[in-house]
Symmetry: C2
Amino acid sequence: YHNMKHGHLSTKDLADFIRERATIEEAYSKSMTKLAKSVNNYTQLGTFVPVWDIFKTSTEKLASCHSDLVRRLQELIKEVHKYGDEQIKTYKKTKEDVSGTLEAVQNIQSITQALQKSKENYSAKCVEQERLKKEGATQREVDKAAVKSKKATDTYKLYVEKYAAVKSVFEQKMTETAQKFQDIEETHLLRMKEIIESLSNTIKEIHLQIGEVHEEFINNMTNTTVESLIQKFAESKGTGKERPGPIEFEECNKSSAVEGIKPRKRKPFGLSGIMKKEKDTESVERSLNQLLSRAKQTRLGENEFNLLPIKPEKGNEK
Amino acid sequence: YHNMKHGHLSTKDLADFIRERATIEEAYSKSMTKLAKSVNNYTQLGTFVPVWDIFKTSTEKLASCHSDLVRRLQELIKEVHKYGDEQIKTYKKTKEDVSGTLEAVQNIQSITQALQKSKENYSAKCVEQERLKKEGATQREVDKAAVKSKKATDTYKLYVEKYAAVKSVFEQKMTETAQKFQDIEETHLLRMKEIIESLSNTIKEIHLQIGEVHEEFINNMTNTTVESLIQKFAESKGTGKERPGPIEFEECNKSSAVEGIKPRKRKPFGLSGIMKKEKDTESVERSLNQLLSRAKQTRLGENEFNLLPIKPEKGNEK
């Protein structure tokens, strides 16, 4: 009966264990979400930037796997609590069912004590009778002792018989009860094993999902080649694929002279790309980037490095 | 050049990311160790107790996997820092190497400005000359304008030639430098990819180890059958495999009567197992447990349930 109660303690312990595990997983998941967000604070410049997206996505997915685990562990805890409540009902019912056994136990205890006492009494009376005989006491005394001895013998024999009857009932009740407790214990352990199986299945599934997230990360990294990163960077920073042509002598347009000189927005020469903001410091960077990007693109298989002079666009000079 | 510096920032970011991940794993590992220890606080009574050992071992191993990960991530962070230091050296060296290119950039900037000005001047002088002609100015004025126009044309032509020369040097330097920066960028990205590969390999290995811990847990749970748990419990709580025999009437030993009655330690009857402490409350539990354990053992295949009466051991009665 005590062990049956320990079964309920084990159920509570299991719920505690799962709850604690869920708490750990939740903390881990939250930290992972924070880590994924911290990627936003990293430099958003340079060739490496697209790689952070891969890290971010992967870290978010890891966080999500662990929060899935938390959700499923919490469902499992509810199941464990429900089982714990069922256990208490079973215990109450069982306590009533085995009350007859408790009586049988008490009976055998009292009959055993009585039997022991009657045996001691019989033994004492028997020895007393012998002593009187040996010491040559009066016949009256010896007879009196013999009567007492006879009475003690009868009582002793009665208790031997009574004991046998009580023992038989005790054994039957105990066997039944032991069987009942064993059945309860088996059902309990089977239920606990089911819960643990559910727990390990959940953990195993999430573990597989985490493995998939890792695989995806590895694949994404494999697909993110050095070439593709440089290509992306060149495309975002580059000023065009064609090398600016030479600047040639342009004859003055004498016809326009009659209307006088109007300040016009004109496309300045062929090196427009790097000349637009020639007076601010950006121009150095820009021209470096422009040629840098062209050189990159060339190496990346774009072999149409245009070395032909580009004629000034006369149409725009009008 | 700026992008090259961003490469170093990315390296620092990567180190930060790995450090943060290591911190998360460390917290997780510590929580798992704590969870494994908390198992000690669970009830140490009942049939379920051996299962907690499986939980404890498994949780300790999980903690150990994650602390292994922490150790390896910390090693990786050292590697990343080392690489970061190497990067700075490369940058310093490169800055010196490309100083000639900066000069070429400045040259093309100033020549472009000069060319633009000379063209505007040429255009203005040319228009002025035409205007004077059309407006019928004096020959002297027209001649003067023609001289100025000729001079502006020569200057303009000179700058067109100069520009071509400077542009050629600029293009050569820029191509070389772009190639150098591209090489540096490629080497950098390759190194970053190597570090990330090392990171994902580590995570993958630990993930496999964690999977093994889960498998071991599942196997241990499968091997821990309900029968074996009940068997273990019965063995620890049981009082023996034989059912106590009946208590029979014992003839008084008259020969001992002569020496008088001495209080002797005698083996009390056959039900000794449950009678030893018959007056304390434990006896009820003990007798229950005794028969409970016997009933269990019977069901577990021990079919030698001894129903034969055990004779009181007369040898001990002497």
